[in-house]
């Protein structure tokens, strides 16, 4: 039996590229179809009925018609526009970083419902939070859980012994921690403070409600930024472009607060 010509799905719009005069190619992350690409016709015209419902970082209910190469969006209705997120420079930048990571860590047409849930939860929490760095780290670790790169934080990845509460090292190449005895076996590893290890374990294993109670000072936050950032870069084998922009904003904010 052939597939029906049209279908409907929820989706969060995670990327858009221009196509021709007034069209766009959208990258959608859906609950049950995984990541899909679709053409949205005429959405760059001011009077397009669809454009507002198909802007980046919008959660919409979308109807699509199957095409030879790419499917075409036929109608769209906003479920959540994440409005608070779009009126704040920092939050928009965080959300773009989140969607860029989802885009880079997934391939087309592979269903990953838990990842969709993490994405949706992260966007919603970003809308109501005052602790964006924590949400980003929470998201990063849960993304790694769902795409199969969950770092080993309990045991030493070389000798399998349980880690002692001391400064151990994180090794991106081995995907986890190394105890002080083993860390010489791997040339690229970063020493990680006891607190940073605890925070990472907690973020990795708890839901957002529990994680949101964590208090992280600036120094610890920078340590986490560095270790997770390096691990992501190692896995993707390229720079995360929006991370560079987040760093610019972070530097500016730090310069203002230190004045």
């Amino acid at each position: 039996m052939s597939k029906p010509r049209t279908y409907q799905t929820e989706a969060i719009i995670i990327k858009k590229t221009k196509l021709g005069e007034a069209d766009r190619i959208l990258t959608l992350y859906t609950p049950h179809l995984g990541k899909i690409q679709a053409v949205a016709k005429g959405v760059r015209r001011p009077k397009s009925k669809l454009s507002g419902h198909l802007e980046l970082l919008t959660h919409s209910l979308i109807s699509l018609a199957r095409g030879r190469n790419l499917d075409t969006v036929t109608s769209s209705q906003t479920i959540s526009s994440f409005l608070p997120l779009k009126s704040d420079l920092w939050l928009t930048s965080c959300a773009l970083y989140v969607t860029e990571l989802v885009n880079q860590f997934t391939v087309d047409h592979i269903e990953n419902y838990p990842l969709f849930q993490v994405l949706q939860e992260t966007m919603e929490e970003l809308c109501r939070t005052d602790n964006r760095e924590l949400i980003l780290h929470y998201f990063e670790l849960h993304l790694l859980n769902e795409v199969g790169y969950r770092p080993q934080l309990q045991q030493c990845v070389a000798c399998q012994t349980l880690l002692e509460p001391t400064t151990n090292s994180f090794c991106p190449g081995s995907g986890g921690m190394l105890c002080p005895n083993c860390h010489h076996s791997q040339p690229f590893s970063y020493p990680l403070s006891v607190n940073a290890q605890k925070v990472l374990r907690l973020l990795q294993n708890s839901d957002y409600n529990t994680a949101s109670r964590l208090k992280i000072d600036a120094k610890l936050s920078r340590e986490l930024e560095k270790v997770i950032g390096n691990y992501l870069k190692y896995l993707l084998e390229r720079e995360v472009k929006s991370a560079a922009w987040l760093d610019t904003l972070r530097e500016e904010t730090r310069a203002i607060t230190s004045d």
Binding site: K15, G20, E21, P46, K47, K49, S51, G52, H53, E55, L56, L57, T78, S81, L83, K86, S87, D88, L89, T92, S93, L96, Y97, T99, E100, K241, S242, A244, W245, L246, T248
Partner: protein, 203 residues
């Protein structure tokens, strides 16, 4: 199907290849254009060739507002009739044409030549923000009108500029975002409607 062109010295093929590089021109359109020019009168082709050459030779960026111009500063920046206390920030030179067509705005412009787009690696240093900030130092400008596109990138650029400019004691305004003329309310999205209600005006 063979879409690729083999490099060749044949005049027609060469022209087709060049047309094919233009935005929105595929191999078939390129061929049609090339054969059209082959049949066209010689003087028409000369006018076209000259127009293309002068475009590159004469057009530069205005040193004040970075608009495309034949004379520096551009005609808008030289015009004494225009209000020098207001500067309207746009993404592209084409946006100035659209705004000028309305005839309602009498101030000056600044062209950013792009918008901040983190996922495409476009940061604050990749667009003309530095030029704008140094232009604002003499204190003559009293109002900045942010006329970047109402897309996520344009919005983000506007937010960032506001964050840079508001400490300079300059009034920062944003073009109203609401319902375009000739559309139907039923199809409007949440953000547009929210902004339209917030920005409603007394009749």
């Amino acid at each position: 199907m063979n879409h690729g062109f083999v490099p060749t010295t044949n005049a027609i093929d060469k022209l087709v290849q060049e047309f094919n590089k233009l935005p929105g021109i595929g191999p078939k359109s390129a061929q049609r254009l090339a054969f059209h020019l082959l049949r066209a009168p010689e003087e028409q082709v000369e006018i076209l060739a000259e127009a293309i050459l002068t475009l590159k030779q004469k057009i530069t960026l205005c040193s004040v507002c970075l608009n495309v111009t034949e004379s520096d500063p551009c005609s808008l920046c030289r015009n004494d009739q225009r209000d020098r206390s207001a500067v309207c920030i746009v993404e592209q030179p084409q946006d100035i044409l659209a705004l000028e067509h309305t005839g309602i705005y009498k101030g000056l412009y600044h062209v950013l030549h792009g918008a901040i787009s983190p996922t495409e690696g476009m940061g604050a240093d990749d667009i003309r923000i530095k030029e704008l900030i140094s232009r604002l130092q003499d204190g003559r400008v009293k109002e900045i009108i942010l006329a970047t596109n109402p897309t996520l990138e344009g919005e983000q650029t506007a937010l960032y500029l506001n964050h840079l400019i508001s400490p300079l004691n300059i009034k920062v305004t944003r073009l109203a975002r609401g319902l375009p003329f000739g559309t139907e309310l039923e199809y409007a999205d949440d953000i547009t409607l929210t902004r339209a209600i917030e920005g409603r005006q007394e009749f």
